[in-house]
Symmetry: C2
Subunit: 534 residues, 2 copies
């Protein structure tokens, strides 16, 4: 497969062609001005040639010059991941810690040469994935003496498809849409759609344990990994393709969540699905958030394994699905390549109704293989469209704060957890942000607990974004950890969540992971500062 | 909960009361004599007082004397796990490497004191679980200067049950039946039934990644672990109760499969189920093994997630389920606490019939909550009873070789894998074993491949059991590894599978795991020789 034809935007999600126009950004600013009753204007669209970068602190050896460069635009576009504060800095032309060079190895030999060079010279090596990290996982560390970003965008092929076992072998640099396009002709699909899907890679998904399409049962990419191949500074580590195993500790489970700190994932075998034919969808409203959450719990515990089981709280249901503001919306979706799903959706709806949910019988949409669209109309469809659109650049720099945090918690603690988090984060929002709004939905659900996803937004003085964001984020992390949750269900740890993760994980586990890392990365070059210090 | 009232047998599975009588053993020997046309007689039942043991090479500190002892019977009953060669040695009074002392800590403080003593004195520490290891995972290493078995049979309580999240907190020493008995009154169940269930423990299950009741979807205990608490020589490592997380590498996944090499698991939170109310079962016969396997694949890939989906090859179907010897038997079972399962079983049967399977409509048994027994009659019931009975002592010492090996392999390679394994193992059986028999069933099934379980048996000269077993086992391991499988799907690595595992796992992973181990067990006292050398 050819390399990506188009350059990624350095200040918004996606490609240069995804960048909002000056007119669109001015329109967004006008909308905000009306809302807050004060004039705000967007900063000028940054131009790549205007960005000032520190001189590269290294020289690329001649033997590597075919795929490693210190090109200005390359360094600019690989400085940041996808977090809103990063995009804000990019828009303002602040590029304090760019990588010194960017590598685009075209094969494993070039990847080996790249890592050998970094290891020998002591350069930090940061695997880039698709650059969509929202947890500061792809940046050059501030204290590095040389830093090389490794972008596998040229290693983006589908190497094999096994349609008997339903699995495929993918180079790590392949993007979501390219992977799905290659599988479509074979009637197969990975069906892993993190929100970053258009721009993120197989390698990034596996390194960060990304969360995908399925709201229940097989929620993380972990569940679809059949084997991994990773280059560490000490050499290759490749696991065997196995449908299951109990042979000691699992090598793949060390690679999953390693976030670039052990090595660079070069390829993976992933489990695939046949494309769904049978579908069934229902949107159930609840006058009461607690009742809705209770319905989610009972449906999850009935082990019907719906593909979708996402509840939006009243704030979110109003903003994303057009509801009135007093009702929560539970979206239930089943799908199968082989078996009609009408009975499953009716069983789930029965549970939801028993818990106080409302839905008309004729709003239960069942496609028994006839291609009748499900889930694209009404509130469910409105939510679907809101989820798919991500355009951080539209409002960057006009003082609109907008971010999310996500977690998981067992059901017994959920109501108190939710109240505590809303109280603590709400207090800081009230203080630090004008018109602050906090809302919640579940992205994934387990029989023993939900994965709640909180969104917050509001208006802050231009220039104060980082300080105000820090206040809210710190309150959120502190509350989540204190109330028993995880700092992240599927966004990864990176550098952002590391302080919270250190409180959450067993203390001894830090020593253990450092020792693990040292065994394959003795010079500590792999993504330093992510997860642990070397 | 009180400690186990009864002593475990040192030469057969189970308690002293499970030991077969002299008359039963003589009857088994008569049966074999008739079959082979030569007279064999069972060795005398060994008596614990007659066993000669090496003197303990250590002295138990006075402070630990309340729970650590060098008692003769204690050392005898903790010398071996449950593998047939071990039981054979026990029956013959061969106890070359007994532990020097056995600890039964009654609480975590006593467990800490035990491990501190071992670490300070350099004694090997072997967590015993329920002593049912069939892979030589609980023995004192031959080269230890002192060896202490740690048996948590006094730490066997249910500490908490959370019936909202459906999870329970269990001390690691609790046995399967005690755990289920404690949950029954709450309408809950773990439903994890490894074949060792009556005698094995939560700690052992987690340390060895045991395989359980569910043939599809959640097959290993791994899937039910919500958190773990483990004492290492460097201190405690306790993870947070979470329904799911993507926060870096998972601490629990380091504990799962650690096989006692990192520390002693003291307690776990495990996910529970409501007891099933709705059940449906079908036994489908196939004239052709390949067609039956194909049906299993297609049912697994339809993601109906049956609790049971086990196919027996014609040899096994004849021996365990009473079929004629020309048919394979596929046992399909669904269960749910909430939802009727008739439609699911009919969907699975439809797939099986499409693949050439035979079953009468009235042989599909559906219990829609009325308590109608399913799966206890006919061929399905016969197989169920054969699975539950394990009595290795009955035929030990009369020259009957009987063992199993189990693996997992992707579907694309399965037919060639099966042919290759049968060819290689069959050749050795023909040479080394009289009347050698090799059969196969699937214990667990994944969308991308089965977990085949092979049984072999035959008659060998009394005294040659170990040599002949070694020939067959080596052929089996070599074939499994060469053809792409795993050395174990759920029996663990122990010392038995270590050479095969070394070929199977990434070479670098050995270094990585040794470094991981050293970080929490710097003196290498934890179960030395299992998985890796210190």
């Amino acid at each position: 497969m050819a390399a990506r034809a188009e350059r990624r935007s350095f200040w918004t999600w996606g490609y240069v062609s995804d960048e909002p126009s000056d007119a669109e950004r001015a329109e967004a600013a006008r909308g905000l001005s009306e809302r807050i009753g004060a004039e705000v204007a967007p900063p000028a669209t940054p131009q790549i040639v205007d960005i000032e970068l520190r001189k590269p602190r290294l020289e690329v050896p001649a033997a590597l010059a075919g795929w490693v460069s210190t090109d200005h635009a390359e360094r600019v576009t690989h400085t940041y991941g996808g977090h809103s504060l990063e995009l804000l800095r990019a828009m303002r032309g602040e590029f304090v810690d760019p990588p010194d060079a960017v590598a685009h190895p075209r094969n494993e030999a070039e990847l080996e040469a790249t890592l050998e060079w970094c290891d020998r010279a002591g350069h930090a090596a940061m695997p880039y994935g698709g650059g969509t990290s929202v947890v500061w996982g792809v940046n050059a560390p501030a204290d590095a003496e040389g830093a090389v970003t490794i972008d596998l965008d040229e290693m983006n092929s589908v190497l094999e498809v096994d349609d008997v076992s339903r699995a495929g072998r993918f180079q790590a640099g392949i993007l979501g849409p390219d992977l799905e396009a290659a599988l479509k002709g074979k009637g197969l699909t990975l069906r892993h759609y993190p929100q970053s899907f258009p721009w993120s890679t197989v390698g990034g998904w596996v390194a960060t344990r990304s969360g995908g399409h399925y709201a229940t049962n097989h929620t993380h990419i972990d569940d679809f990994v059949e084997s991994t191949r990773m280059l560490t500074p000490r050499g290759w580590m490749e696991s065997r393709r196995l449908p299951g195993s109990g042979a000691g500790p699992s090598p793949d489970r060390m690679v999953l969540g390693s976030e670039g700190t052990l090595g660079v994932i070069s390829e993976c075998w992933l489990r695939l699905q046949k494309r769904p034919v049978f579908r069934a969808t229902a949107g159930v409203t609840f006058a009461d958030w607690a009742n809705g959450c209770n319905a989610v719990r009972q449906i999850a515990q009935a082990k019907l394994w719906p593909a979708n089981l996402r509840i939006l709280d009243p704030v979110e249901a109003a903003a994303s699905a057009g509801l009135g503001g007093n009702s929560a919306l539970l979206i239930i979706g089943f799908e199968s390549a082989d078996v009609p799903q009408g009975e499953n959706v009716r069983a789930a709806v029965a549970i939801a109704r028993d818990c106080g949910g409302s839905i008309d019988d004729d709003a239960i949409v069942v496609d028994d293989g006839d291609g009748r669209p499900t889930g694209r109309a009404g509130a469910v469809g409105a939510w679907r469209n809101a989820f798919i659109g991500v355009n951080a650049g539209l409002t960057a720099g006009i003082g609109l704060l907008s971010d999310t945090f996500e977690t998981a918690i067992t059901w017994d603690r959920w109501p108190a957890f939710d109240a505590y988090v809303r109280d603590r984060v709400g207090a800081v929002l009230n203080e630090a942000v004008a018109g602050g709004r906090l809302s919640c939905r579940f992205t994934h659900v387990y029989p023993d607990g939900p994965a709640p996803y909180y969104s917050f937004s509001g208006v802050v003085p231009v220039g104060a974004e980082e300080e105000r964001w820090r206040a809210v984020k710190d309150a959120a992390t502190a509350a989540v950890v204190a109330a028993g949750g995880t700092v992240t269900h599927h966004h990864a740890v990176g550098r952002m969540h590391r302080p919270g993760w250190e409180k959450q994980r067993p203390a001894l586990f830090g020593d253990l992971w450092r020792a693990t890392k040292r065994s394959v990365d003795p010079n500590g070059i792999m993504n330093p500062g992510v997860l642990v210090d070397p």
